[in-house]
């Protein structure tokens, strides 16, 4: 996918100006998710669950080579064909071969962020394969030609009226059709696709090394259908998505569901061990493509590797006051919100994603929500430091910060300057930093009395 992260501040400002409805839709949806998560965390010893999950993931990541080889072995024992792909080109080659070998004409897809990373849909379309996104939200944005705006709810930026208009144009439904009626139309189109597709494509929430189990979570049933009906199933799995033991799923499935949507477990979980056996329904062939695409480089990074624990639950997006303003599109890549701000620079390089680590207030809400305790605020600061070191941040920022530090460390300098400010107000429009601030807020006016004087008066 094309990366547009460099344009973040401009795109965010444009979206807020031109599509104010997005803020309303995204804020509503994320506040709802966030309230559900909080309630679901209160029901358990969340701190203990998160700490345990963190430890399991850290063990996995510090033994990743071992577990990848074990997973491959177990998958192969069950008749799954395992492929390795370093980058999108290799993933494309593998998929192209499968499509050619089986003469695939139609594919059904289960929502997957990794396949967004890899650009699977454009590839299939270029091969003449008809692709249906089968998650309802993902289907909506496929019809609109948009990328997902949230890891879990790809279409949360759309209001009901947007969808009513879309279906009116596409399927001739009335402009005031109910959500049930709209879902029924989508269900009909997609049911037909499930029953006629030759290929089902999915990601994976987890891949268990001990048993070679692919675990997929969802609420609609489209993933179970995509991985049950077509005769070939291909799953793209990021190499960080492994779990050591089958029973670890008993922690990670409910924890992810609680973090993502506040459910105790998502409505459907598919645990897939391999192709159908003799006389059984199900795919004749199952392929697992283990994908690197920047993950080994992140693992190598001593300051940033913890981000690989991420379960893609979206809880940090829902908790983030910055994400809520615009939703995911301005971030310019598959992963948005707090996780995007620390993952995208790692996957794509800081040069192409420079503004993202600044898209945060450092309030820490993302860390509180994260089921695997990824210290996102700390990682944001690490990337910001690097941006300054590498000269990506504007030079005035470094100068201004140094000057600010100097003034704040010296009481006499501080007093002198604040006195001066009261006497000679700042030429507000001339300073670019202040201009950005005052544009949305009104002029900065220094208090007539200094704080230490007010404090003194208060004490007396």
């Amino acid at each position: 996918m094309r990366v547009k992260a460099k344009l973040y501040p401009k795109e965010a400002a444009r979206l807020l100006r031109e599509q104010p409805g997005v803020r309303e839709a995204v804020t509503g949806a994320t506040l709802h998710f966030e309230a559900n998560r909080k309630r679901a965390y209160q029901e358990i010893d969340a701190e203990a669950w998160r700490e345990r999950a963190r430890r399991v993931k850290d063990h996995l990541l510090t033994h990743l080579d071992h577990y990848l080889e074990l997973a491959e072995k177990r998958l192969q024992e069950k008749g799954v064909q395992v492929h390795w792909a370093e980058d999108p080109e290799e993933a494309h080659r593998i998929l192209r071969e499968i499509v050619a070998r089986h003469g695939v004409k139609r594919a059904v897809k289960a929502k997957s962020m990794l396949t967004e990373e890899l650009g699977v849909n454009p590839l299939l379309e270029s091969l003449g394969v008809e692709v249906y996104e089968t998650d309802l939200g993902e289907y909506l944005i496929q019809l609109l030609g948009e990328p997902p705006s949230h890891i879990v709810g790809p279409a949360i930026h759309l209001a009901l009226s947007d969808i009513q208009r879309l279906f009116h144009q596409r399927f001739g439904t009335p402009l005031d059709a109910s959500p049930e009626a709209l879902a029924a139309v989508a269900r009909k189109v997609l049911r037909e696709a499930f029953l006629t597709a030759d290929l089902g494509i999915s990601g994976a929430n987890f891949l268990v090394a001990e048993t070679g189990t692919l675990a997929l979570m969802e609420n609609e049933g489209n993933i179970r259908l995509s991985t049950s009906l077509p005769r070939v199933h291909v799953a793209f799995v990021g190499i960080e998505k492994l779990l050591p033991r089958f029973a670890d799923l008993a922690l990670f499935l409910p924890l992810t569901a609680r973090a993502a949507t506040g459910q105790r477990l998502s409505t459907y979980v598919s645990l897939i061990q391999g192709p159908a056996k003799e006389g059984e329904e199900g795919p004749q062939e199952v392929h697992v493509v283990l994908v690197d695409h920047g993950r080994t480089a992140l693992l190598h990074d001593p300051e940033a590797w913890e981000v690989l624990r991420c379960l893609r639950c979206g809880a940090c997006l829902n908790a983030c006051p910055v994400y809520r303003q615009t939703g995911g599109h301005p971030y310019g890549y598959v992963y948005s919100g707090p996780i995007g701000a620390v993952l995208d620079p790692g996957l794509l390089g800081l040069e192409d994603t420079y503004p993202l680590p600044y898209a945060s207030t450092l309030c820490g809400a993302c860390y509180e929500a994260c089921p695997v305790k990824i210290p996102i605020p700390k990682l944001l600061l690490a990337w910001r430091n690097r941006a300054v070191e590498r000269g990506l941040a504007p030079t005035w920022e470094k100068g201004a910060m140094q000057a600010f530090a100097k003034v704040m460390q010296s009481p006499s300098l501080y007093r002198l300057l604040s006195k001066a400010l009261r006497g000679f107000p700042l030429p507000q429009d001339l300073l670019p930093l202040l201009k950005a601030w005052t544009e949305g807020r009104g002029p900065l006016q220094p208090s007539p009395k200094p704080f230490h004087q007010l404090w003194q008066e208060l004490k007396e």
Binding site: I163, F246, A250, L265, L271, L299
Partner: protein, 189 residues
Amino acid sequence: MDAKSRILSRIRHALKDRPKALLPEHPHPAFSQDTMELFLKRLAENGAEGHLVDKEGARKLLADLAQGLPGAAYGKGVPDALRLLPELPPEEAPLGVSRALFAVAETGTVALSSEDGRRTQLLPPVHLVLVEEKRVYPSLLEAFLDLKSLPSAIGLHSGPSKSADIGQVMVKGVHGPGRLVVAVLQGTW
């Protein structure tokens, strides 16, 4: 070098100086006394219907569900005594009847094996799942630790198919069954 060797060698290089983290033990399974009560409660909270029935009760439940229907799709493990309707292919059947591998109280879940037949579990708009009382586990961990062998696929179902993707309004029966009924069977079958 192929992709696999390159990826693995990069991982080994990356982990060279990284301290190894220990794998924590699974927590000790918590003992829950009123598993059945919890299971039925959680099913209801998930939007499913749960019934604790004996043989007669199961027949009656099925007869009620079957009223006015031309037929049903059956999973392989459904006992003959409960095949009250003529068999239809799952694509056409208004009702699917399956037999679960196990169930979990903690999450209000039935676990369905691919050996029982996947289409019956997914395509009909109403899904009745039979599960033996002794196969209801208090927690997911206990159920998973007890699994001796794994079929090619397990589906954990915790309620009817649902989506809130259209304007945040909850719609049921989007792709899978819009109604899930669970019959917990007392005694042996």
